[in-house]
């Protein structure tokens, strides 16, 4: 990892118009003023409640969800793109440089195309190669990196297992030579024995090809093992962001603490010891006042109900958005 920033988001906001009818202009802020810096060559993890805006944030960085507020920049050597306004040829160029690995290797692959054609398609769509020979050479090169052989390339995807299909999706995402990869729940559908293999492959590819990952996952043990930096989202807001070790050793936000303690223990005699968050996730259309987590926070005080905390960065790279984080340092959440 270098100290150069590849992706920088500043108060990035994605709002969807969800009003029913012409006069109802209700906006759902799926991502709400999120600021992060993703360093070149890093494996940046994004975790959080379902519906917290992880996928939307990833899609916004890929120009697949509308940026309605704030800014995001992609800086790679000579090029620097403002993602909010990117269009035309620059957008085409950006599509080569930033790619998505799909979550579901079953749904994502067309059953009627051979593996070779599936991997080659982005090259053909983006007109990156001139001859069939050139395409084939590129496909073979990337397939080999993803441990797929020539025999595999001739077959159809249904003849493959989940792990192999995920490797096909990865090869397809990498074939255009991108620098930035959004991996959205990319190993969620895989069995653990295969998951470890795909994660090792992603790490290897990151090193070999100098890739930068935004790794979205709800599996905290996977995130702990693969990412060097982790950001935590709740209801569209970034609530905590820190180097992985620091975050797991000493989480600062009450939501992050609850998240960690809810991880199911592998010990069958340790049932029910998990800290359970009470209450439901508030509707994104009817968000709580003050701190968005106060309706479920075991540490909430009056102030939390009226004043929204801002993201503080105390200078150690471990940012947190909570009025009480200093007071609560070292203390267990009391549910």
């Amino acid at each position: 990892m270098s100290s150069e920033t590849l992706i920088s988001a500043k108060d990035l906001t994605v709002g969807y118009n969800v009003g029913k009818g012409f006069f109802d202009r209700t906006v759902l802020k799926a991502v709400n003023e999120v600021s992060v810096e993703i360093k070149r060559g890093s494996f940046f993890g994004l975790v959080g409640e379902s519906g917290s805006g992880k996928t939307t944030f990833g899609r916004a960085l890929l120009k697949a969800a509308p940026i309605t507020g704030g800014a995001a920049t992609f800086t790679d050597g000579q090029v620097s793109y403002n993602l909010a306004t990117l269009a035309g040829d620059e957008l085409k160029d950006y599509r080569k440089r930033a790619q998505l690995i799909f979550q579901d290797p079953y749904a994502a692959l067309s059953p009627r195309m051979t593996v070779r054609d599936i991997i080659a398609e982005p090259l053909e769509v983006m007109k990156l190669t001139k001859t069939r020979e050139e395409t084939d050479a590129r496909v073979r090169e990337i397939a080999a990196k993803c441990r797929l052989n020539l025999e595999h390339l001739r077959r159809f995807p249904h003849a493959f297992s989940g792990g192999q299909r995920q490797r096909i999706s990865i090869a397809r995402a990498l074939v255009s030579g991108p620098k930035f990869i959004v991996a959205d729940e990319s190993v969620a559908a895989l069995d653990v024995s295969i998951q470890a293999d795909v994660l090792n492959l992603l790490k290897q590819l990151q090193k070999d090809l100098g890739l930068t990952f935004l790794f979205i996952s709800h599996d905290l043990s996977v995130v702990a093992h693969t990412c060097d930096h982790v950001a935590v989202m709740y209801l569209g807001r970034l609530v905590e962001s820190a180097p992985t070790r620091q975050l797991f050793a000493a989480p600062r936000h009450p939501y992050t603490k609850a998240l960690f303690s809810a991880i199911p223990s592998l010990d069958p005699d340790d049932r029910g010891s998990a800290q359970k968050l009470v209450g439901e996730i508030p509707s994104p259309l009817n968000q709580p006042s003050g701190c968005k987590f106060h309706t479920r926070c075991p540490n909430a005080i009056d102030k939390c109900r009226t004043i929204e905390p801002t993201l503080e960065n105390p200078g150690d790279g471990h940012a947190v958005s909570c009025h009480r984080w200093r007071e609560l340092l070292g203390a267990e959440t009391t549910a």
Partner: protein, 337 residues
Amino acid sequence: MTSLIDVENLTLSFRTDEGLVTAVDDVSFSLGKGEVMGLVGESGSGKSVTAKALMQLNPGNAVYDPRSKITLHDEGREVDVLSLRKSAELKIVRGGAISMIFQEPMASFAPAITIGNQMVEQLQIHTGMTKAKAKEISIEMLDRVGISDPSKRFDQYVFELSGGMRQRAMIAMALSTNPKLLIADEPTTALDVTIQAQVIDLMKDLVNEFHMGIIFITHDLGVIAQTADKVCVMYLGRIVEEGPVREVIRNPKHPYTRGLIAALPRFDDLDAPLTPVPGDIPSPLERPTGCVFHTRCREIIGDVCKRDLPENRWVDPSHRVACHLHAKTPAQTEAVR
């Protein structure tokens, strides 16, 4: 424990362009009332196909071996599930006594009908309750699975919900008819842990409250450890190990189960490399001879594994394993371990 469902010698192939593909091979297990069974295994190992067989939900190209038998014990009746033909009979196992939460939430909901209307319709088919009552129960179930604004969500379409919310809506729909057996196929995969913990609690409550049996399909052994009484481990269509959850997790007997446990990322050592089970799962068209796991087994003994199918052996009254390591006399078994 009174048996709720008995599966005997379930063997099932699919007719495909490339010939017959074996998906489930000689699977037998029993589940008692109020018992929670975890079903784990590689992707493609036949977990979903096994589960769907209990409701006859496999598609028309499925071919059942005639030895296959599934018996459901429902309020004094014995239902021979695989002999059910007419849709009126099939109602018993489809959404009646048995309900299933699918792996793909999108598959359970029709895209053009609101979530609420689908729940109401399903309740009316299976219980004959009034529309108003069905609506009340549906909203209550949506609330119980942790969906905010349940009466508003009731009128929404599935595409308007986030992945996790879809999963919860589906769980609500499956539970609303109060089934005897709930099959949950990867029900918490799309959920984050705080909600997963709630859903797991909800499922435990249901077992206690309604004495419902649950088959929990997941690849998360942590979830199994937290919920299941017993576990069946599948590999390439066969159950390779079955036992009480404590035994299987603490003292796994089959090399595949051991590999699965070793592959889990641990929190206690973030630097430890992840250790996958080596190799790829063989294509369903190239089923290995002998022990189906021999192409990836770290503990392979030799030709016997490549040649002979290992038989199930009960290593204690509730723990069985299909592996040549355990087919020998106890002394030799210890020696090779």
